[in-house]
Amino acid sequence: MSNTATVQTAQEAEVHGVHHDAHHEHHEHHETFISKYVFSQDHKMIARQFLITGMIWAIIGGLFSVLFRLQLGYPNSTFPWLEDLLGHWAKGGKLQPEFYYALVTMHGTILVFFVLTAGLSGTFANFLIPLQIGARDMASPMLNMLSYWFFFLASIIMFSSLFVQTGPASGGWTIYPPLSALGDASSGSKIGMDLWLASMAMFVVSSLLGGLNYITTILNMRTKGMSMTRMPLTIWALFFTAVLGVLSFPVLLSGAILLLFDRNLGTSFFLSDIVVNGKILPNEGGSAILFQHLFWFLGHPEVYIILLPAMGMSSEIISVNSRKPIFGYMAMVGSLFAIAILAFLVWAHHMFVTGLNPFLGAFFVLLTLLIAVPSAIKVFNWLTTLWRANIRFTPAMLFAIGFVSLFISGGLTGIFLGNSALDIHLHDTYFVVAHFHIVMGVASFMGMFAGVYHWFPKMYGRFLNNTLGYIHFWVTIAGAYLIFWPMHYEGLAGMPRRYYDFSNWESFKMFGGLNEFISFVALIVFAVQLLFVFNFFYSIFKGRKVKDLNPWGANTLEWTTPIRPGHGNWVGEIPEVYRGAYDYGKDGREFIPQTEPIGENESHH
């Protein structure tokens, strides 16, 4: 960025800041409950709204997994209380297959979209972008507010689908037609599916409003001196996340709309040659595979939409708590960039067994395995950051280390699945379940928890209880490995995913004991997450108060704001930035905040 441009941006920021200060003071006395807590335009409040909504969804989605794990772990038992809870969906205390599939579908949908997309990047992009680049708020606080409320609307629609008589969508979170297009093929493909699609349309709107805002804010509203290469890695990660979302979510929307047409208007985009329940359908000429292309063109970038924020936050937290600069800042940015580009070029690796042209498949193999290179760079850079550090194990740091561990474990199995010849055997088995739960499920959750523990003091001016945090971390990481590690063996035995019961299968029934064990661990891990939720809400009101402006001794700008920043973030002028975010341990000093001018005798690196 040229000097003039920097100055210009800074001037803009200042003008904006002055404007906002006036605005801020003017409104201080008129702030009502509604404008402060409900239709708030303060990015920090919107972040909290995203976080808490995401947490509620996480509890629902997690509970669903516990319910279907009961069926998988104890296929021969009945649980009368299930009937009390779920009515005819659990007749005689046993989950009905239709509802089992509905639970599996909603678990995936909720966790992927509502928790790990909205709850993760919604929370931290909103919270951290203005605070870490030195802006008073987002480029458009109004659109930002709408982004949350569209998400809220999507949530309401999805939640309501749980209560319709024919049940919520039950064709898997990937909703492949024709199953999802034909009400005759599955009761979950009746009204529940329309609600799913409507909800997802609202969700895409929310994500676009948010994403455009994040990009605009990062590009235009950085404070004076905050050049792109001085930005913390969190911001880089959130930037690429937003770019991925803006470019790929519309494609999902197009797929969803075409599917709605096929369902309700008699079109044949995805339907051809179908006889269902003895009924010969008139649809001809559509391609069921076309939907999969549209879906995975979003679906694969979506994986990185989930993962990149966790990478960025873990990088930041590892550096702060190692008291060492992140190793290879530019390589970290470069590898994020490479991952973001490659994310768009690998979608068909989800489709190796659809009858895809093998020649085309070969390119997707090559590009998929290429992602391992930037991933390896990131892992080794994290390891080198820890090397000869002086590490403080805050709960956030532990979760960041847990993130790296799980990212390695889950990433390596991606090398199996990305190689099409092996994927043929492993496709749609428990190997895949283990792979993606570790690498984008639990790993991203680790990143998210790291973020929550690290920035909770900034969000609420109080600390989370440390002891509960440590318990939370140790049970979660041990549980994650106990649950998902043995699943690789089930997958190597060819055991298919999304099966309600294996007991009739000579080839798969030998894992009964293991499935019971996994279900039991899942139950405990879920209970400990509730402990975290309790810690979260208790600490908002009763946690230990933050007394120090900069409790972690971090360099980034958010710690220069007041302990509980108001709307506008900084009381006076926005601070100016003179250096990158990672001057830890430089020249014998523990940390040098970004706001400190370069000293005369400072060493160059």
Partner: protein
């Protein structure tokens, strides 16, 4: 009653954990926050190394318990499957080395470089040589894996040998149908609009090639040692032909026929001996979610010796006879085979590129 008791116990445990955690916070304030922070640091660093050791033991133990239940032990039951297993071993070896190296480094560094009063973090922001090293080394290993993978991929997905036994597989909610092409070795044409009554596959009996085709449900017999080619269809939603023992898999998509081929190495009886399981059967699982009965969509593949296979085929009657019972006597006389025409019809239902 036990449920309520259970809930009460869980809540009690929660409260106890919470009270202890709260108390520990008060204690830390009394003791001096800095001092208790350092203590926590030591405890967690120690736990990280304990976790590493237990984790490594866990990996070994898990392998001991479950390796025998994977398909490696019995070996692949198809020619290509053996290559896939070799590839799996190579990939496991490469990724295994990386896995153990990086996890050990991660937890060991975390433990070794825990905060100490006399330690200063080493300012080490970047090093081009190191970064180049771990860009190129993974790239080289991945290239090897890609080359291997693509070699087998093209072989597996390539054209089936000319002498393949052709069998049509059709998936529907919730079961599998199989069609043998009969003496002319050509599958008769189908049109889904003809699906009616006992003509459950919608076979076009105006096509002479269809007259000797034989239709069976759920169980299919194939000969050992000969390439078998499945031509795969679905009637209602997407299904998937999953053949774990042969290391093969292919989607069944309505409107878009797909194919897969493999050469079985062992008969079902031989596999009973190899696996030591007298109940062994080759199972065909549906591997693409297809509705509430997805998990019941079980097909059986019986691999026979050549003689058994021929004997079995001789017991089957053409589907034409069961759809039109009145045509049964002498129906085969009218069956003429126009090989060029029917081959074209078969080619028409194959996906391009296969």
């Amino acid at each position: 009653m036990t449920n309520i008791l259970l809930i009460v116990i869980v809540i009690m445990i929660f409260i106890v954990i919470f009270q202890i955690s709260k108390a520990s916070e008060y204690v830390s304030v009394l003791k001096g926050e800095e001092q208790s922070r350092k203590q926590n640091n030591k405890i967690n660093a120690f736990l990280l190394i304990v976790f590493l050791v237990l984790g490594l033991i866990g990996c070994w133990w898990c392998n001991k318990l479950y390796y025998g239940k994977t398909l490696f032990v019995q070996g692949a039951a198809s020619e290509m499957g053996e290559k896939i297993d070799l590839m799996l071993y190579i990939t496991i070896a490469v990724t295994g080395v990386v896995f153990f190296a990086t996890q050990i480094l991660l937890f060991w560094f975390a433990f070794k470089y825990q905060e100490k009063d006399d330690r200063k973090a080493y300012y080490f922001p970047h090093n081009t040589k190191l970064e180049l090293l771990w860009t190129t080394v993974p790239a080289i290993f991945l290239t090897i894996l890609v080359v291997f993978g693509l070699k087998y991929w093209f072989k597996m997905t390539g054209e089936a040998p000319k002498n393949s036994v052709i069998i049509e597989v059709t998936g529907h909610q919730f079961g599998w149908e199989f069609r043998y092409p009969g003496a002319d070795k050509i599958l008769g044409k189908k049109d889904y609009r003809l699906t009616k009554g006992s003509n459950s596959l919608g076979v076009d009996f105006n096509d002479p090639a269809s007259l000797d085709d034989m239709h069976v449900s759920a169980t299919v017999h194939i000969p050992v040692g000969k390439p078998v080619k499945f031509v795969i269809n679905a009637q209602d939603v997407i299904h998937d032909v999953g053949l774990p023992h042969f290391r093969m898999k292919m989607d069944a998509v309505p409107g878009i026929p797909t194919t897969l081929w493999f050469t079985p190495l062992y008969t079902t009886d031989e596999m009973k001996v190899r696996t030591g399981n007298p109940n062994f059967v080759y199972e065909m699982s549906c591997d693409q979610i297809c509705g509430k009965g997805h998990f019941t969509m079980r097909g059986i593949i019986v691999v026979d010796t050549q003689e058994e296979y021929l004997k079995y085929l001789a017991t089957l009657e053409p589907e034409y006879w069961s759809v039109f019972p009145d045509k049964k006597p002498g129906a085969l006389k009218t069956a003429t085979t126009d090989s060029t025409k029917t081959k074209a019809s078969l080619a028409a239902i194959m996906p391009a590129g296969n």
